[in-house]
Symmetry: C2
Subunit: 388 residues, 2 copies
């Protein structure tokens, strides 16, 4: 079946999918698609990784598959820096197949592919790119490798679809049917699909993913020589800001260098704000100093209100109350049982940490209208409740 003549809307089909690269993401895609009834073929430069992925049920190793089973979709799940070459190879080797990649940045890969079509030695033609669609599933884990893979990894996560566009002319290169199949794949894996131009995608992730990563790493690296007595005072503020600083250097080298321009543009603005703050703090009592500091914090206030919360709702649309519990099994469950009995839905839930203490604080976010009602009912049931 040639997918360019059939859209997902036109028929319910489960195309045969080849996963090239059986790391965490590739193997997870394989597991998810198998669960959805697709035939999945696997291929990886590492025979071991390929074998593990097959063993845990992500698909059949390509070489072992019957010769006549040609993939209708190829998903290139290679490391970012190897992706463009793998996409080109797949487009040439499987002249009928729709080829997707899942790398974290999109413009540089597209530029490399366009460059290859102008190279006479390369077998890749501009027409081949009608079968290429760049995508970016925004799901990851601290762990990597096929063993860590899970078919549910993409559930409820954003998956960005970037149809190939010629930056020079603005002409869309990806065929509409290929784009539809890319979106369908994301939906079948439970993701929330977004469509975006490659350049706009890279600018977006620079801001909402690469900037926070850099900030977390910069702050965390200041802690390397911090006295233990200082760290003992750490609260959720420090924990939240530095959590993602535990990311993989090898991966981030590839992500940041492939998106250097959009990231550095943002860092220029950040540096300006920081320079202003530094010179203010060098003479905090000088005229205007107080106003400068207040402005920085106020700008942060207005920026953070734009970060969507659960289901895209702004964070401040929820009211928070904290229940104090003993730190023993079943306590949180007991709290939530009572909340459920009272009939209020918990929109968000967090544990308050505190070093060296055995009391837990369960932070419940609920719709503002239900907050006081819930607090009163919980207090009546004997819980220690703190509103915030």
């Amino acid at each position: 079946m040639n997918l360019l003549t059939a859209t997902p809307a036109s028929v319910r089909q489960t195309p045969t999918v080849l996963i090239r690269g059986t790391g965490l993401l590739g193997t997870s895609i394989g597991l998810g698609l198998r669960a959805d009834g697709h035939q999945v073929l696997l291929s990886d430069p590492s025979a071991t990784a390929q074998a593990i992925a097959a063993d845990i049920g992500a698909g059949t190793i390509l070489e072992r598959a019957a010769a006549e089973t040609a993939p209708e979709i190829v998903v290139v799940a290679a490391p970012p820096e190897a992706t463009a070459a793998e996409v080109a190879a797949a487009l040439v080797r499987f002249p009928e197949a729709v080829v997707l990649d899942i790398a974290s940045t999109k413009a540089e890969i597209l530029a490399t592919l366009l460059h290859l079509t102008q190279d006479d030695d390369a077998a890749l033609t501009r027409t081949d790119l009608s079968r290429y669609v760049g995508t970016h599933p925004m799901a990851g884990r601290e762990k990597s490798g096929p063993v860590a893979a899970r078919g549910e990894l993409f559930t409820s996560m954003p998956w960005v679809i970037c149809p190939a566009v010629d930056p020079a002319t603005g002409e869309q290169l990806s065929a509409p049917q290929a784009v539809e199949w890319a979106e369908e794949l994301g939906r079948r894996l439970g993701a929330t699909v977004h469509q975006m131009d490659p350049v706009r995608h890279d600018e977006s992730v620079a801001l909402i993913s690469h900037l926070p990563q850099i900030a977390a790493s910069l702050v965390a690296s200041r802690l390397q020589d911090a006295p233990v007595s200082a760290l003992a005072l750490a609260g959720n503020g420090l924990r939240d800001v530095t959590r993602i600083a535990a990311s993989d250097p090898g991966l981030w080298v590839q992500i940041l260098s492939s998106n250097a321009r959009p990231v550095v543009e943002i860092l220029y603005g950040l540096r300006q704000d920081m320079e202003r703050l530094i010179s203010t703090l060098e003479a905090p009592r000088a005229p205007g100093g107080q106003a400068d500091i207040a402005q920085l914090i106020a700008e942060g206030n207005s920026g953070v209100t734009r970060v969507p919360g659960k289901h895209g709702a702004p964070p401040q649309s929820f009211a928070v109350l904290t229940v104090i519990v003993d730190d023993k099994p079943g306590q949180i469950a007991a709290v939530l049982n009572d909340v459920a009995t009272i009939g209020v839905n918990v929109e968000d839930l967090r544990m308050e940490h505190s070093a060296g203490h055995q009391v837990g604080m369960v932070e419940l976010s609920v719709l503002p209208g239900r907050r006081d009602e819930l607090a009163d009912a919980m207090t009546e049931l004997g819980w220690k409740v703190v509103l915030s």
Copy 2:
């Protein structure tokens, strides 16, 4: 009773406490001490704030109290910039009382007090400072004012006790008994008490509290003009890094300007790292560039491992598994019931957010040894489990 002749260890006593400043923290201290059996007197420049605090049961308004009830402890809970003057006034007006303050920074207030003792017009003497102890309860809320006050606010939170020390001579000015009463007060309010030199305290909070606040505000302010399509891709990374950017500008102006030197010293180091990253990203493919980026992320890795988790345990000492649930009342409770039945203690719990999706992801942190056992048991019970 003169507290300088009686330590908490020597007798169980509930001294009369005057709270000067009935905002969120002052009123919360009043409520907590009342619950512990103390007589509490209240005083605030704002008659309204004072009346509200009394109405919700934080204590008796000072002017209305019987003339003979003199406070044995005075807690100055004024705004940071008003604290030193209020402490001096209290030391002079109540020549028998131990006087504490609760401002977020300590060295500047102490310097101001020492300066006042050298001022002939001021009635304050160096001897008076034996009755002064600086403290910093590390608890706060988004809301402010007496109405938001709760006696449990300090439960399991750090409370730093900073005995007054002459920076010139290193001589401790606070009397040992006064220090003991300051610590006792924190313990009676359920806090975890730490003792620290004022300068060391200010350096510590600059690193673990003021730096994360600045980073969160700087990142969040970059989002002010971000396109909605970009923000729709936001994940927990951005949410975690920017959460505390919602703080009060008025308060942070006072905190940062009173701790400008330690903060700016840290920002110099941060700026150096950022300059290095910027010049690397301006030519990411230049020799050494990749190594530079990898080093920044790696330094963040080693820094974040030093942030203590719950009960002071390092974060990576817990294993995480995610349970996927429908977004309806009672689901999280159902999950935790089953976890409790299986008999595994949940060390930490978070909801995974996802814009525009109705599936919830409950992230459970457990001891690594119990993780797989719990995952298997939960899967058997029919839950969708993702390890991470």
